[in-house]
Amino acid sequence: MTHGAPTNIPTHGPDDLVVRGAHVLDPASGLDGVMDVRVSGGRVAEVGEGLRGTRSLDADGLHLFPGFTDVHAHWRTPGREDEETVETGSAAAAAGGFTGVVMMPNTDPVIDRPVVVSGLVRRVEGESRVRAYVSAALHEGLKGERLTEMRLMREAGAFCVSDDGLGTQSAGVLRNAMLYAKDAGMPVILHCEDHTLATGVVHEGVAAALAGLPGSPGSAEDVATATALVLAAETGARVHVTHVSTALSAALVGFFKGNVPGADVTADTTPHHLTLTDELVRTLEGMYRVNPPLRPEGDRLGVGGALRDGILDFVATDHAPHASEEKDLPLEEAAPGFLGHETAFSALYTELVLGGHLSLERLVGAMASAPGAWVGDGAGRIAEGAPADLALVDLSEEWTVRGEGLLSRSGNSPYIGRSLKGRIVGTMVGGELVQDRTGARFGSRA
């Protein structure tokens, strides 16, 4: 048995559905052209031209990608179901083309005991529309002191471990945690932040200076990233550095990947760090508080270049719903975090692909292939036998992000009011359409 693989998706879907005539783009399988994909028993059965099946879905003019995987999301369950539930979080994920999501453990209670892991796994099985992976805590209460029962939690269904939301302050503590996670056979997702440096609420730069906001310097992230990378290399643990937001941290990741053979390291950055800058904090609005903070243009470009070059492996949204009473506040008093699932592809397509900074192929690689390979189970590719997890996208659709149009239970998207291009039309998980804006395109012709 593969521990930690989500069990909420039935392996048997409706038989024989042909997605007909979409432009299939899958960097992992080397597919790029108009063709048909036949789905059967929850898996991809066939890729080719003129395929036959009992049902078909006319996808002329649409693009078909492998379903996206988001390795960083906060579905606020258990404890803050007023902000997000497994049901609404997974609906939001499906609306964004995500077919796999890793749920972070900073809930209430924290996911730091086997019994809590089992409880969440059961909830996911009953409620999630997409494949949901449980990240357990690396330390009890995320406090960076006592190790959690990682091996027992893995047996209870946890997929990986993380103290996300907090950095680990002691290198000695982090090193033992990495060694222990390696034994438990789980990857470690690290939120790299040195809390002795990160004392502010925004990036310590020109915008903070002019706005009069307490800043946290880029070094708060860079010092912790360097520590994490050094320890990853020495321990050989499987380490994933999440939400890289500075050019220097991205360069450090690149250095370790290129020069340190023992380092089993991957890294992601977020849609917001790729598309927004700390100029926004000049508004002083609580909406724009996020951690790591929005950075200056130089960091945005550095991180974008690293994603383009594959130094940063993929994109993860850090989907972080917050109730309006936590966001409609002065920036200094607001909770940090943005919604991410529903706007990720559109924002990146609009800003980076149409802006000429990233190829569509690399974007699909960064949202589907690479994070899919990271979670395993054949995710992130369209190939015979692979799970039928697919995203059907209309690249020509233009839409304006509106709070009331979002499926998340919260409304804290920094893109509200923006006009974006490219939108998810349908999302299929295990052969089932879990998000369907296809306008009843099902045909009956065999």
Binding site: R146, L152, V173, K182
Partner: protein, 308 residues
């Protein structure tokens, strides 16, 4: 004549082990004719250890030696007298053997450079604890029916190898006796170079049983490995689940050993400690005879049996 020392078993040989165990068997069989009469054995314990100290003292007295005991409490050792000064003093007082327990690895080796007396290492830091491994071999030989019966037996050393002087003596000594070894421990309780001994590292006691272990040698887990500044183990339930010896492990006939004192329910389940498969009482019981033999050999006192 310069005395022999027992400092380490790192480079020990089958012949050397057999010599000690043969003599220990004689000591265990019945009273010998005071082979150490007229000798002075000095116990210098820079670290508290009632069990080991008592065992050595009994071993020396049974063999007829005079015993001077310096323990950490209430002596010059407590006042911070240095290792070398103590050894030199004992040497001048005419000690024939110095039994040394010290918190730093290598202490016995240094002591031996400053005295003509025989030095017996009774445990130095994370370094060596040779008499423990010898009494373990004595207990095992008894159970398996002779020293030669140890050849080819499989022993899994389970637990905190990183901090264990017992492991650093047991591993080379058991190997020299012809046994096959494996380690069962989390990486947090192993040296970073876990391959230092060239032994397989297994993830649980269950895996050790699958590997074919005849003996499960559990090491003591200090409770502070779970707390403190950099914890290495999450909890008793998780440790016991993967690294604890439980009743189910005995079904295939494996024997259980532990250098003591046992944390019941942590390294060894409570109902296993006194099970028929447990060699733990035999280990303790082997201590005096083995230590008498070691003292006799290091001081060159060849014993003769009391005429019946």
């Amino acid at each position: 004549m310069r005395a022999r020392n027992l400092l380490s078993l790192e480079e020990t040989s089958r012949a050397e082990l057999r010599e000690v165990l043969d003599l220990a068997r004689e000591h265990a069989a019945g009273p010998l004719d005071r082979p150490l009469a007229g000798k002075t054995v000095c116990l210098a314990f820079f670290e508290a250890s009632t069990r080991t100290a008592v065992s050595f003292e009994l071993a020396a007295r049974r063999a007829g030696a005079d015993v001077i005991s310096l323990s950490e409490k209430g002596s010059s050792l407590e006042k911070g007298e240095g290792l070398i000064d103590t050894v030199v003093t004992l040497d001048s007082l005419g000690a024939d053997a110095i039994v040394l327990r010290h918190p730093a690895a290598g202490a016995a080796r240094i002591a031996a450079l400053h005295t003509g007396a025989a030095v017996v290492n009774a445990g130095d830091g994370r370094g060596q604890h040779p008499t423990q491994a010898l009494l373990d071999l004595h207990a095992l030989s008894d159970r398996f029916g002779g020293f030669d019966e140890l050849i080819g037996r499989r022993v899994a050393v389970v637990g905190d190898v990183l901090h264990s002087r017992v492991a650093r003596s047991v591993i080379p000594a058991f190997r020299a006796a012809g046994m096959e070894l494996a380690i069962v421990a989390p990486r947090t309780l192993l040296p970073l170079e876990a391959d230092a001994w060239g032994l397989p590292v297994l993830p649980s006691v269950d895996d050790a049983i699958d590997w074919g272990a005849d003996v499960l040698y559990a090491l003591r887990l200090q409770k502070e490995r779970m707390t403190g500044g950099s914890p290495r183990v999450p909890s008793v339930p998780e440790y016991a689940r993967y690294y604890g010896v439980a009743k189910r492990h005995l079904a295939a006939g494996a024997l259980v050993m532990h250098p003591g004192p046992v944390n019941r329910g942590v390294e060894v389940a409570g109902d296993v400690v006194l099970d028929a498969s447990s060699l733990i009482p035999d280990q303790v019981g082997s201590g005096v005879a083995v230590r008498s033999a070691v003292l006799a050999l290091t001081m060159g006192a060849v014993p003769s049996r009391v005429a019946a």
